[in-house]
Symmetry: C2
Subunit: 195 residues, 2 copies
């Protein structure tokens, strides 16, 4: 039986970018398979009384995070550019990723979308940007962009976000191995080596 | 010229325990000297609208932190016990540490106080506990416990906390190397290797 890890990520989350780009390589080294689980932090933050990213609500924390991201990306050799809008409205990107996770292209798509946002400064709230990415990946962009306006996909992502909440997830990226929760890109290796 | 690092820590902070116990060993390996800078997070949290630890205000985050502390301590071989009161009232412990930093016994004292709180479950808000620790360390406990009720020490710690705020510090542990701020025990090694 292959060991597997559930990878919970949010498209508007800066630190999720690090794990989105690192997880498949680190998991492969350890023979672990990855279940990509996109979700929305918005409803979780909202239930904590936040109507914005904590990095915007608490300016010292925000200034630190942007500097830390520059240093982290340099350390691991990832390009990085501060996006024009933060946090981006991520629901469409996440719905497409939910479809992708079910159809087997969630990882490649998500890596491409995070790169578009955090390396290329593109606005991933824009349907056209998502459509172009699907086309680059040779996926049926019209079918997929129509699907994300339908109830099964909307409900699927909503349920996945509820599942995150019920697991005790409060930030992104998060990792679950069995019942064990790990939070933050800094815990990726520990999570992959757990148990 | 020896490279040095400013180590900002708060006695009520769980993650500060990890760095308090690790920093001298990790710094020595790299030939870095450590300036121990105790401060109070209370006023900083208060200015962000928090009247308690974020780990108490946000229960999912708190539950995660306690579990993460158990795992971290196991990984690095540190004893750990959830304290009965959290966050502890840390001002007296911090004032003593401020005296200790000026007199050259800040590190040994702080390690002993963190061990008392997080490994032995003792209440470090209690003057008697601090006094016993000073005596164990063969320090003049009466003189020191009298000093912390005087203005120079009270003002000294207050100014140190204001300095932390002006540096952009918003949590503990934090590390400064020149103008570069690092937050969290997870960044200790990166901070020590900076520049």
């Amino acid at each position: 039986m292959t060991k597997s890890i559930d990878f919970w990520y949010e498209f508007a989350s800066t630190y999720s970018y690090l794990s989105v780009m690192r997880i498949e390589g680190e998991a492969a080294k350890r023979g672990v398979s990855v279940n990509w689980k996109p979700f929305l932090l918005g409803p979780i933050f909202h239930s904590q009384g936040w109507d914005n990213s904590p990095f915007n609500i608490y300016p010292a924390k925000g200034r630190y995070m942007w500097r830390d991201m520059v240093r982290r990306c340099r350390r691991i050799g990832l390009p990085f550019k501060v996006p024009e809008v933060f946090p981006v409205h991520s629901v469409k990107a996440a719905r497409v990723a939910w479809v992708g996770a079910n159809e087997g292209w969630g990882a490649a798509y998500s890596q491409r979308v995070f790169t578009a946002q955090f390396a290329e400064g593109r606005n991933i709230a824009d349907r056209e940007v998502l459509k172009e990415i699907l086309e680059e990946l040779k996926l049926e962009s019209d079918r997929i962009m129509a699907l994300i306006e339908e109830s099964p996909v909307k409900d699927g992502l909503r349920k996945q976000t509820e599942e995150a909440t019920s697991l005790g997830i409060f930030g992104a990226p998060s990792f679950m191995v069995g019942d064990e929760l790990f939070w933050g890109d800094d815990r990726l290796e520990e999570a992959l080596e757990w148990g």
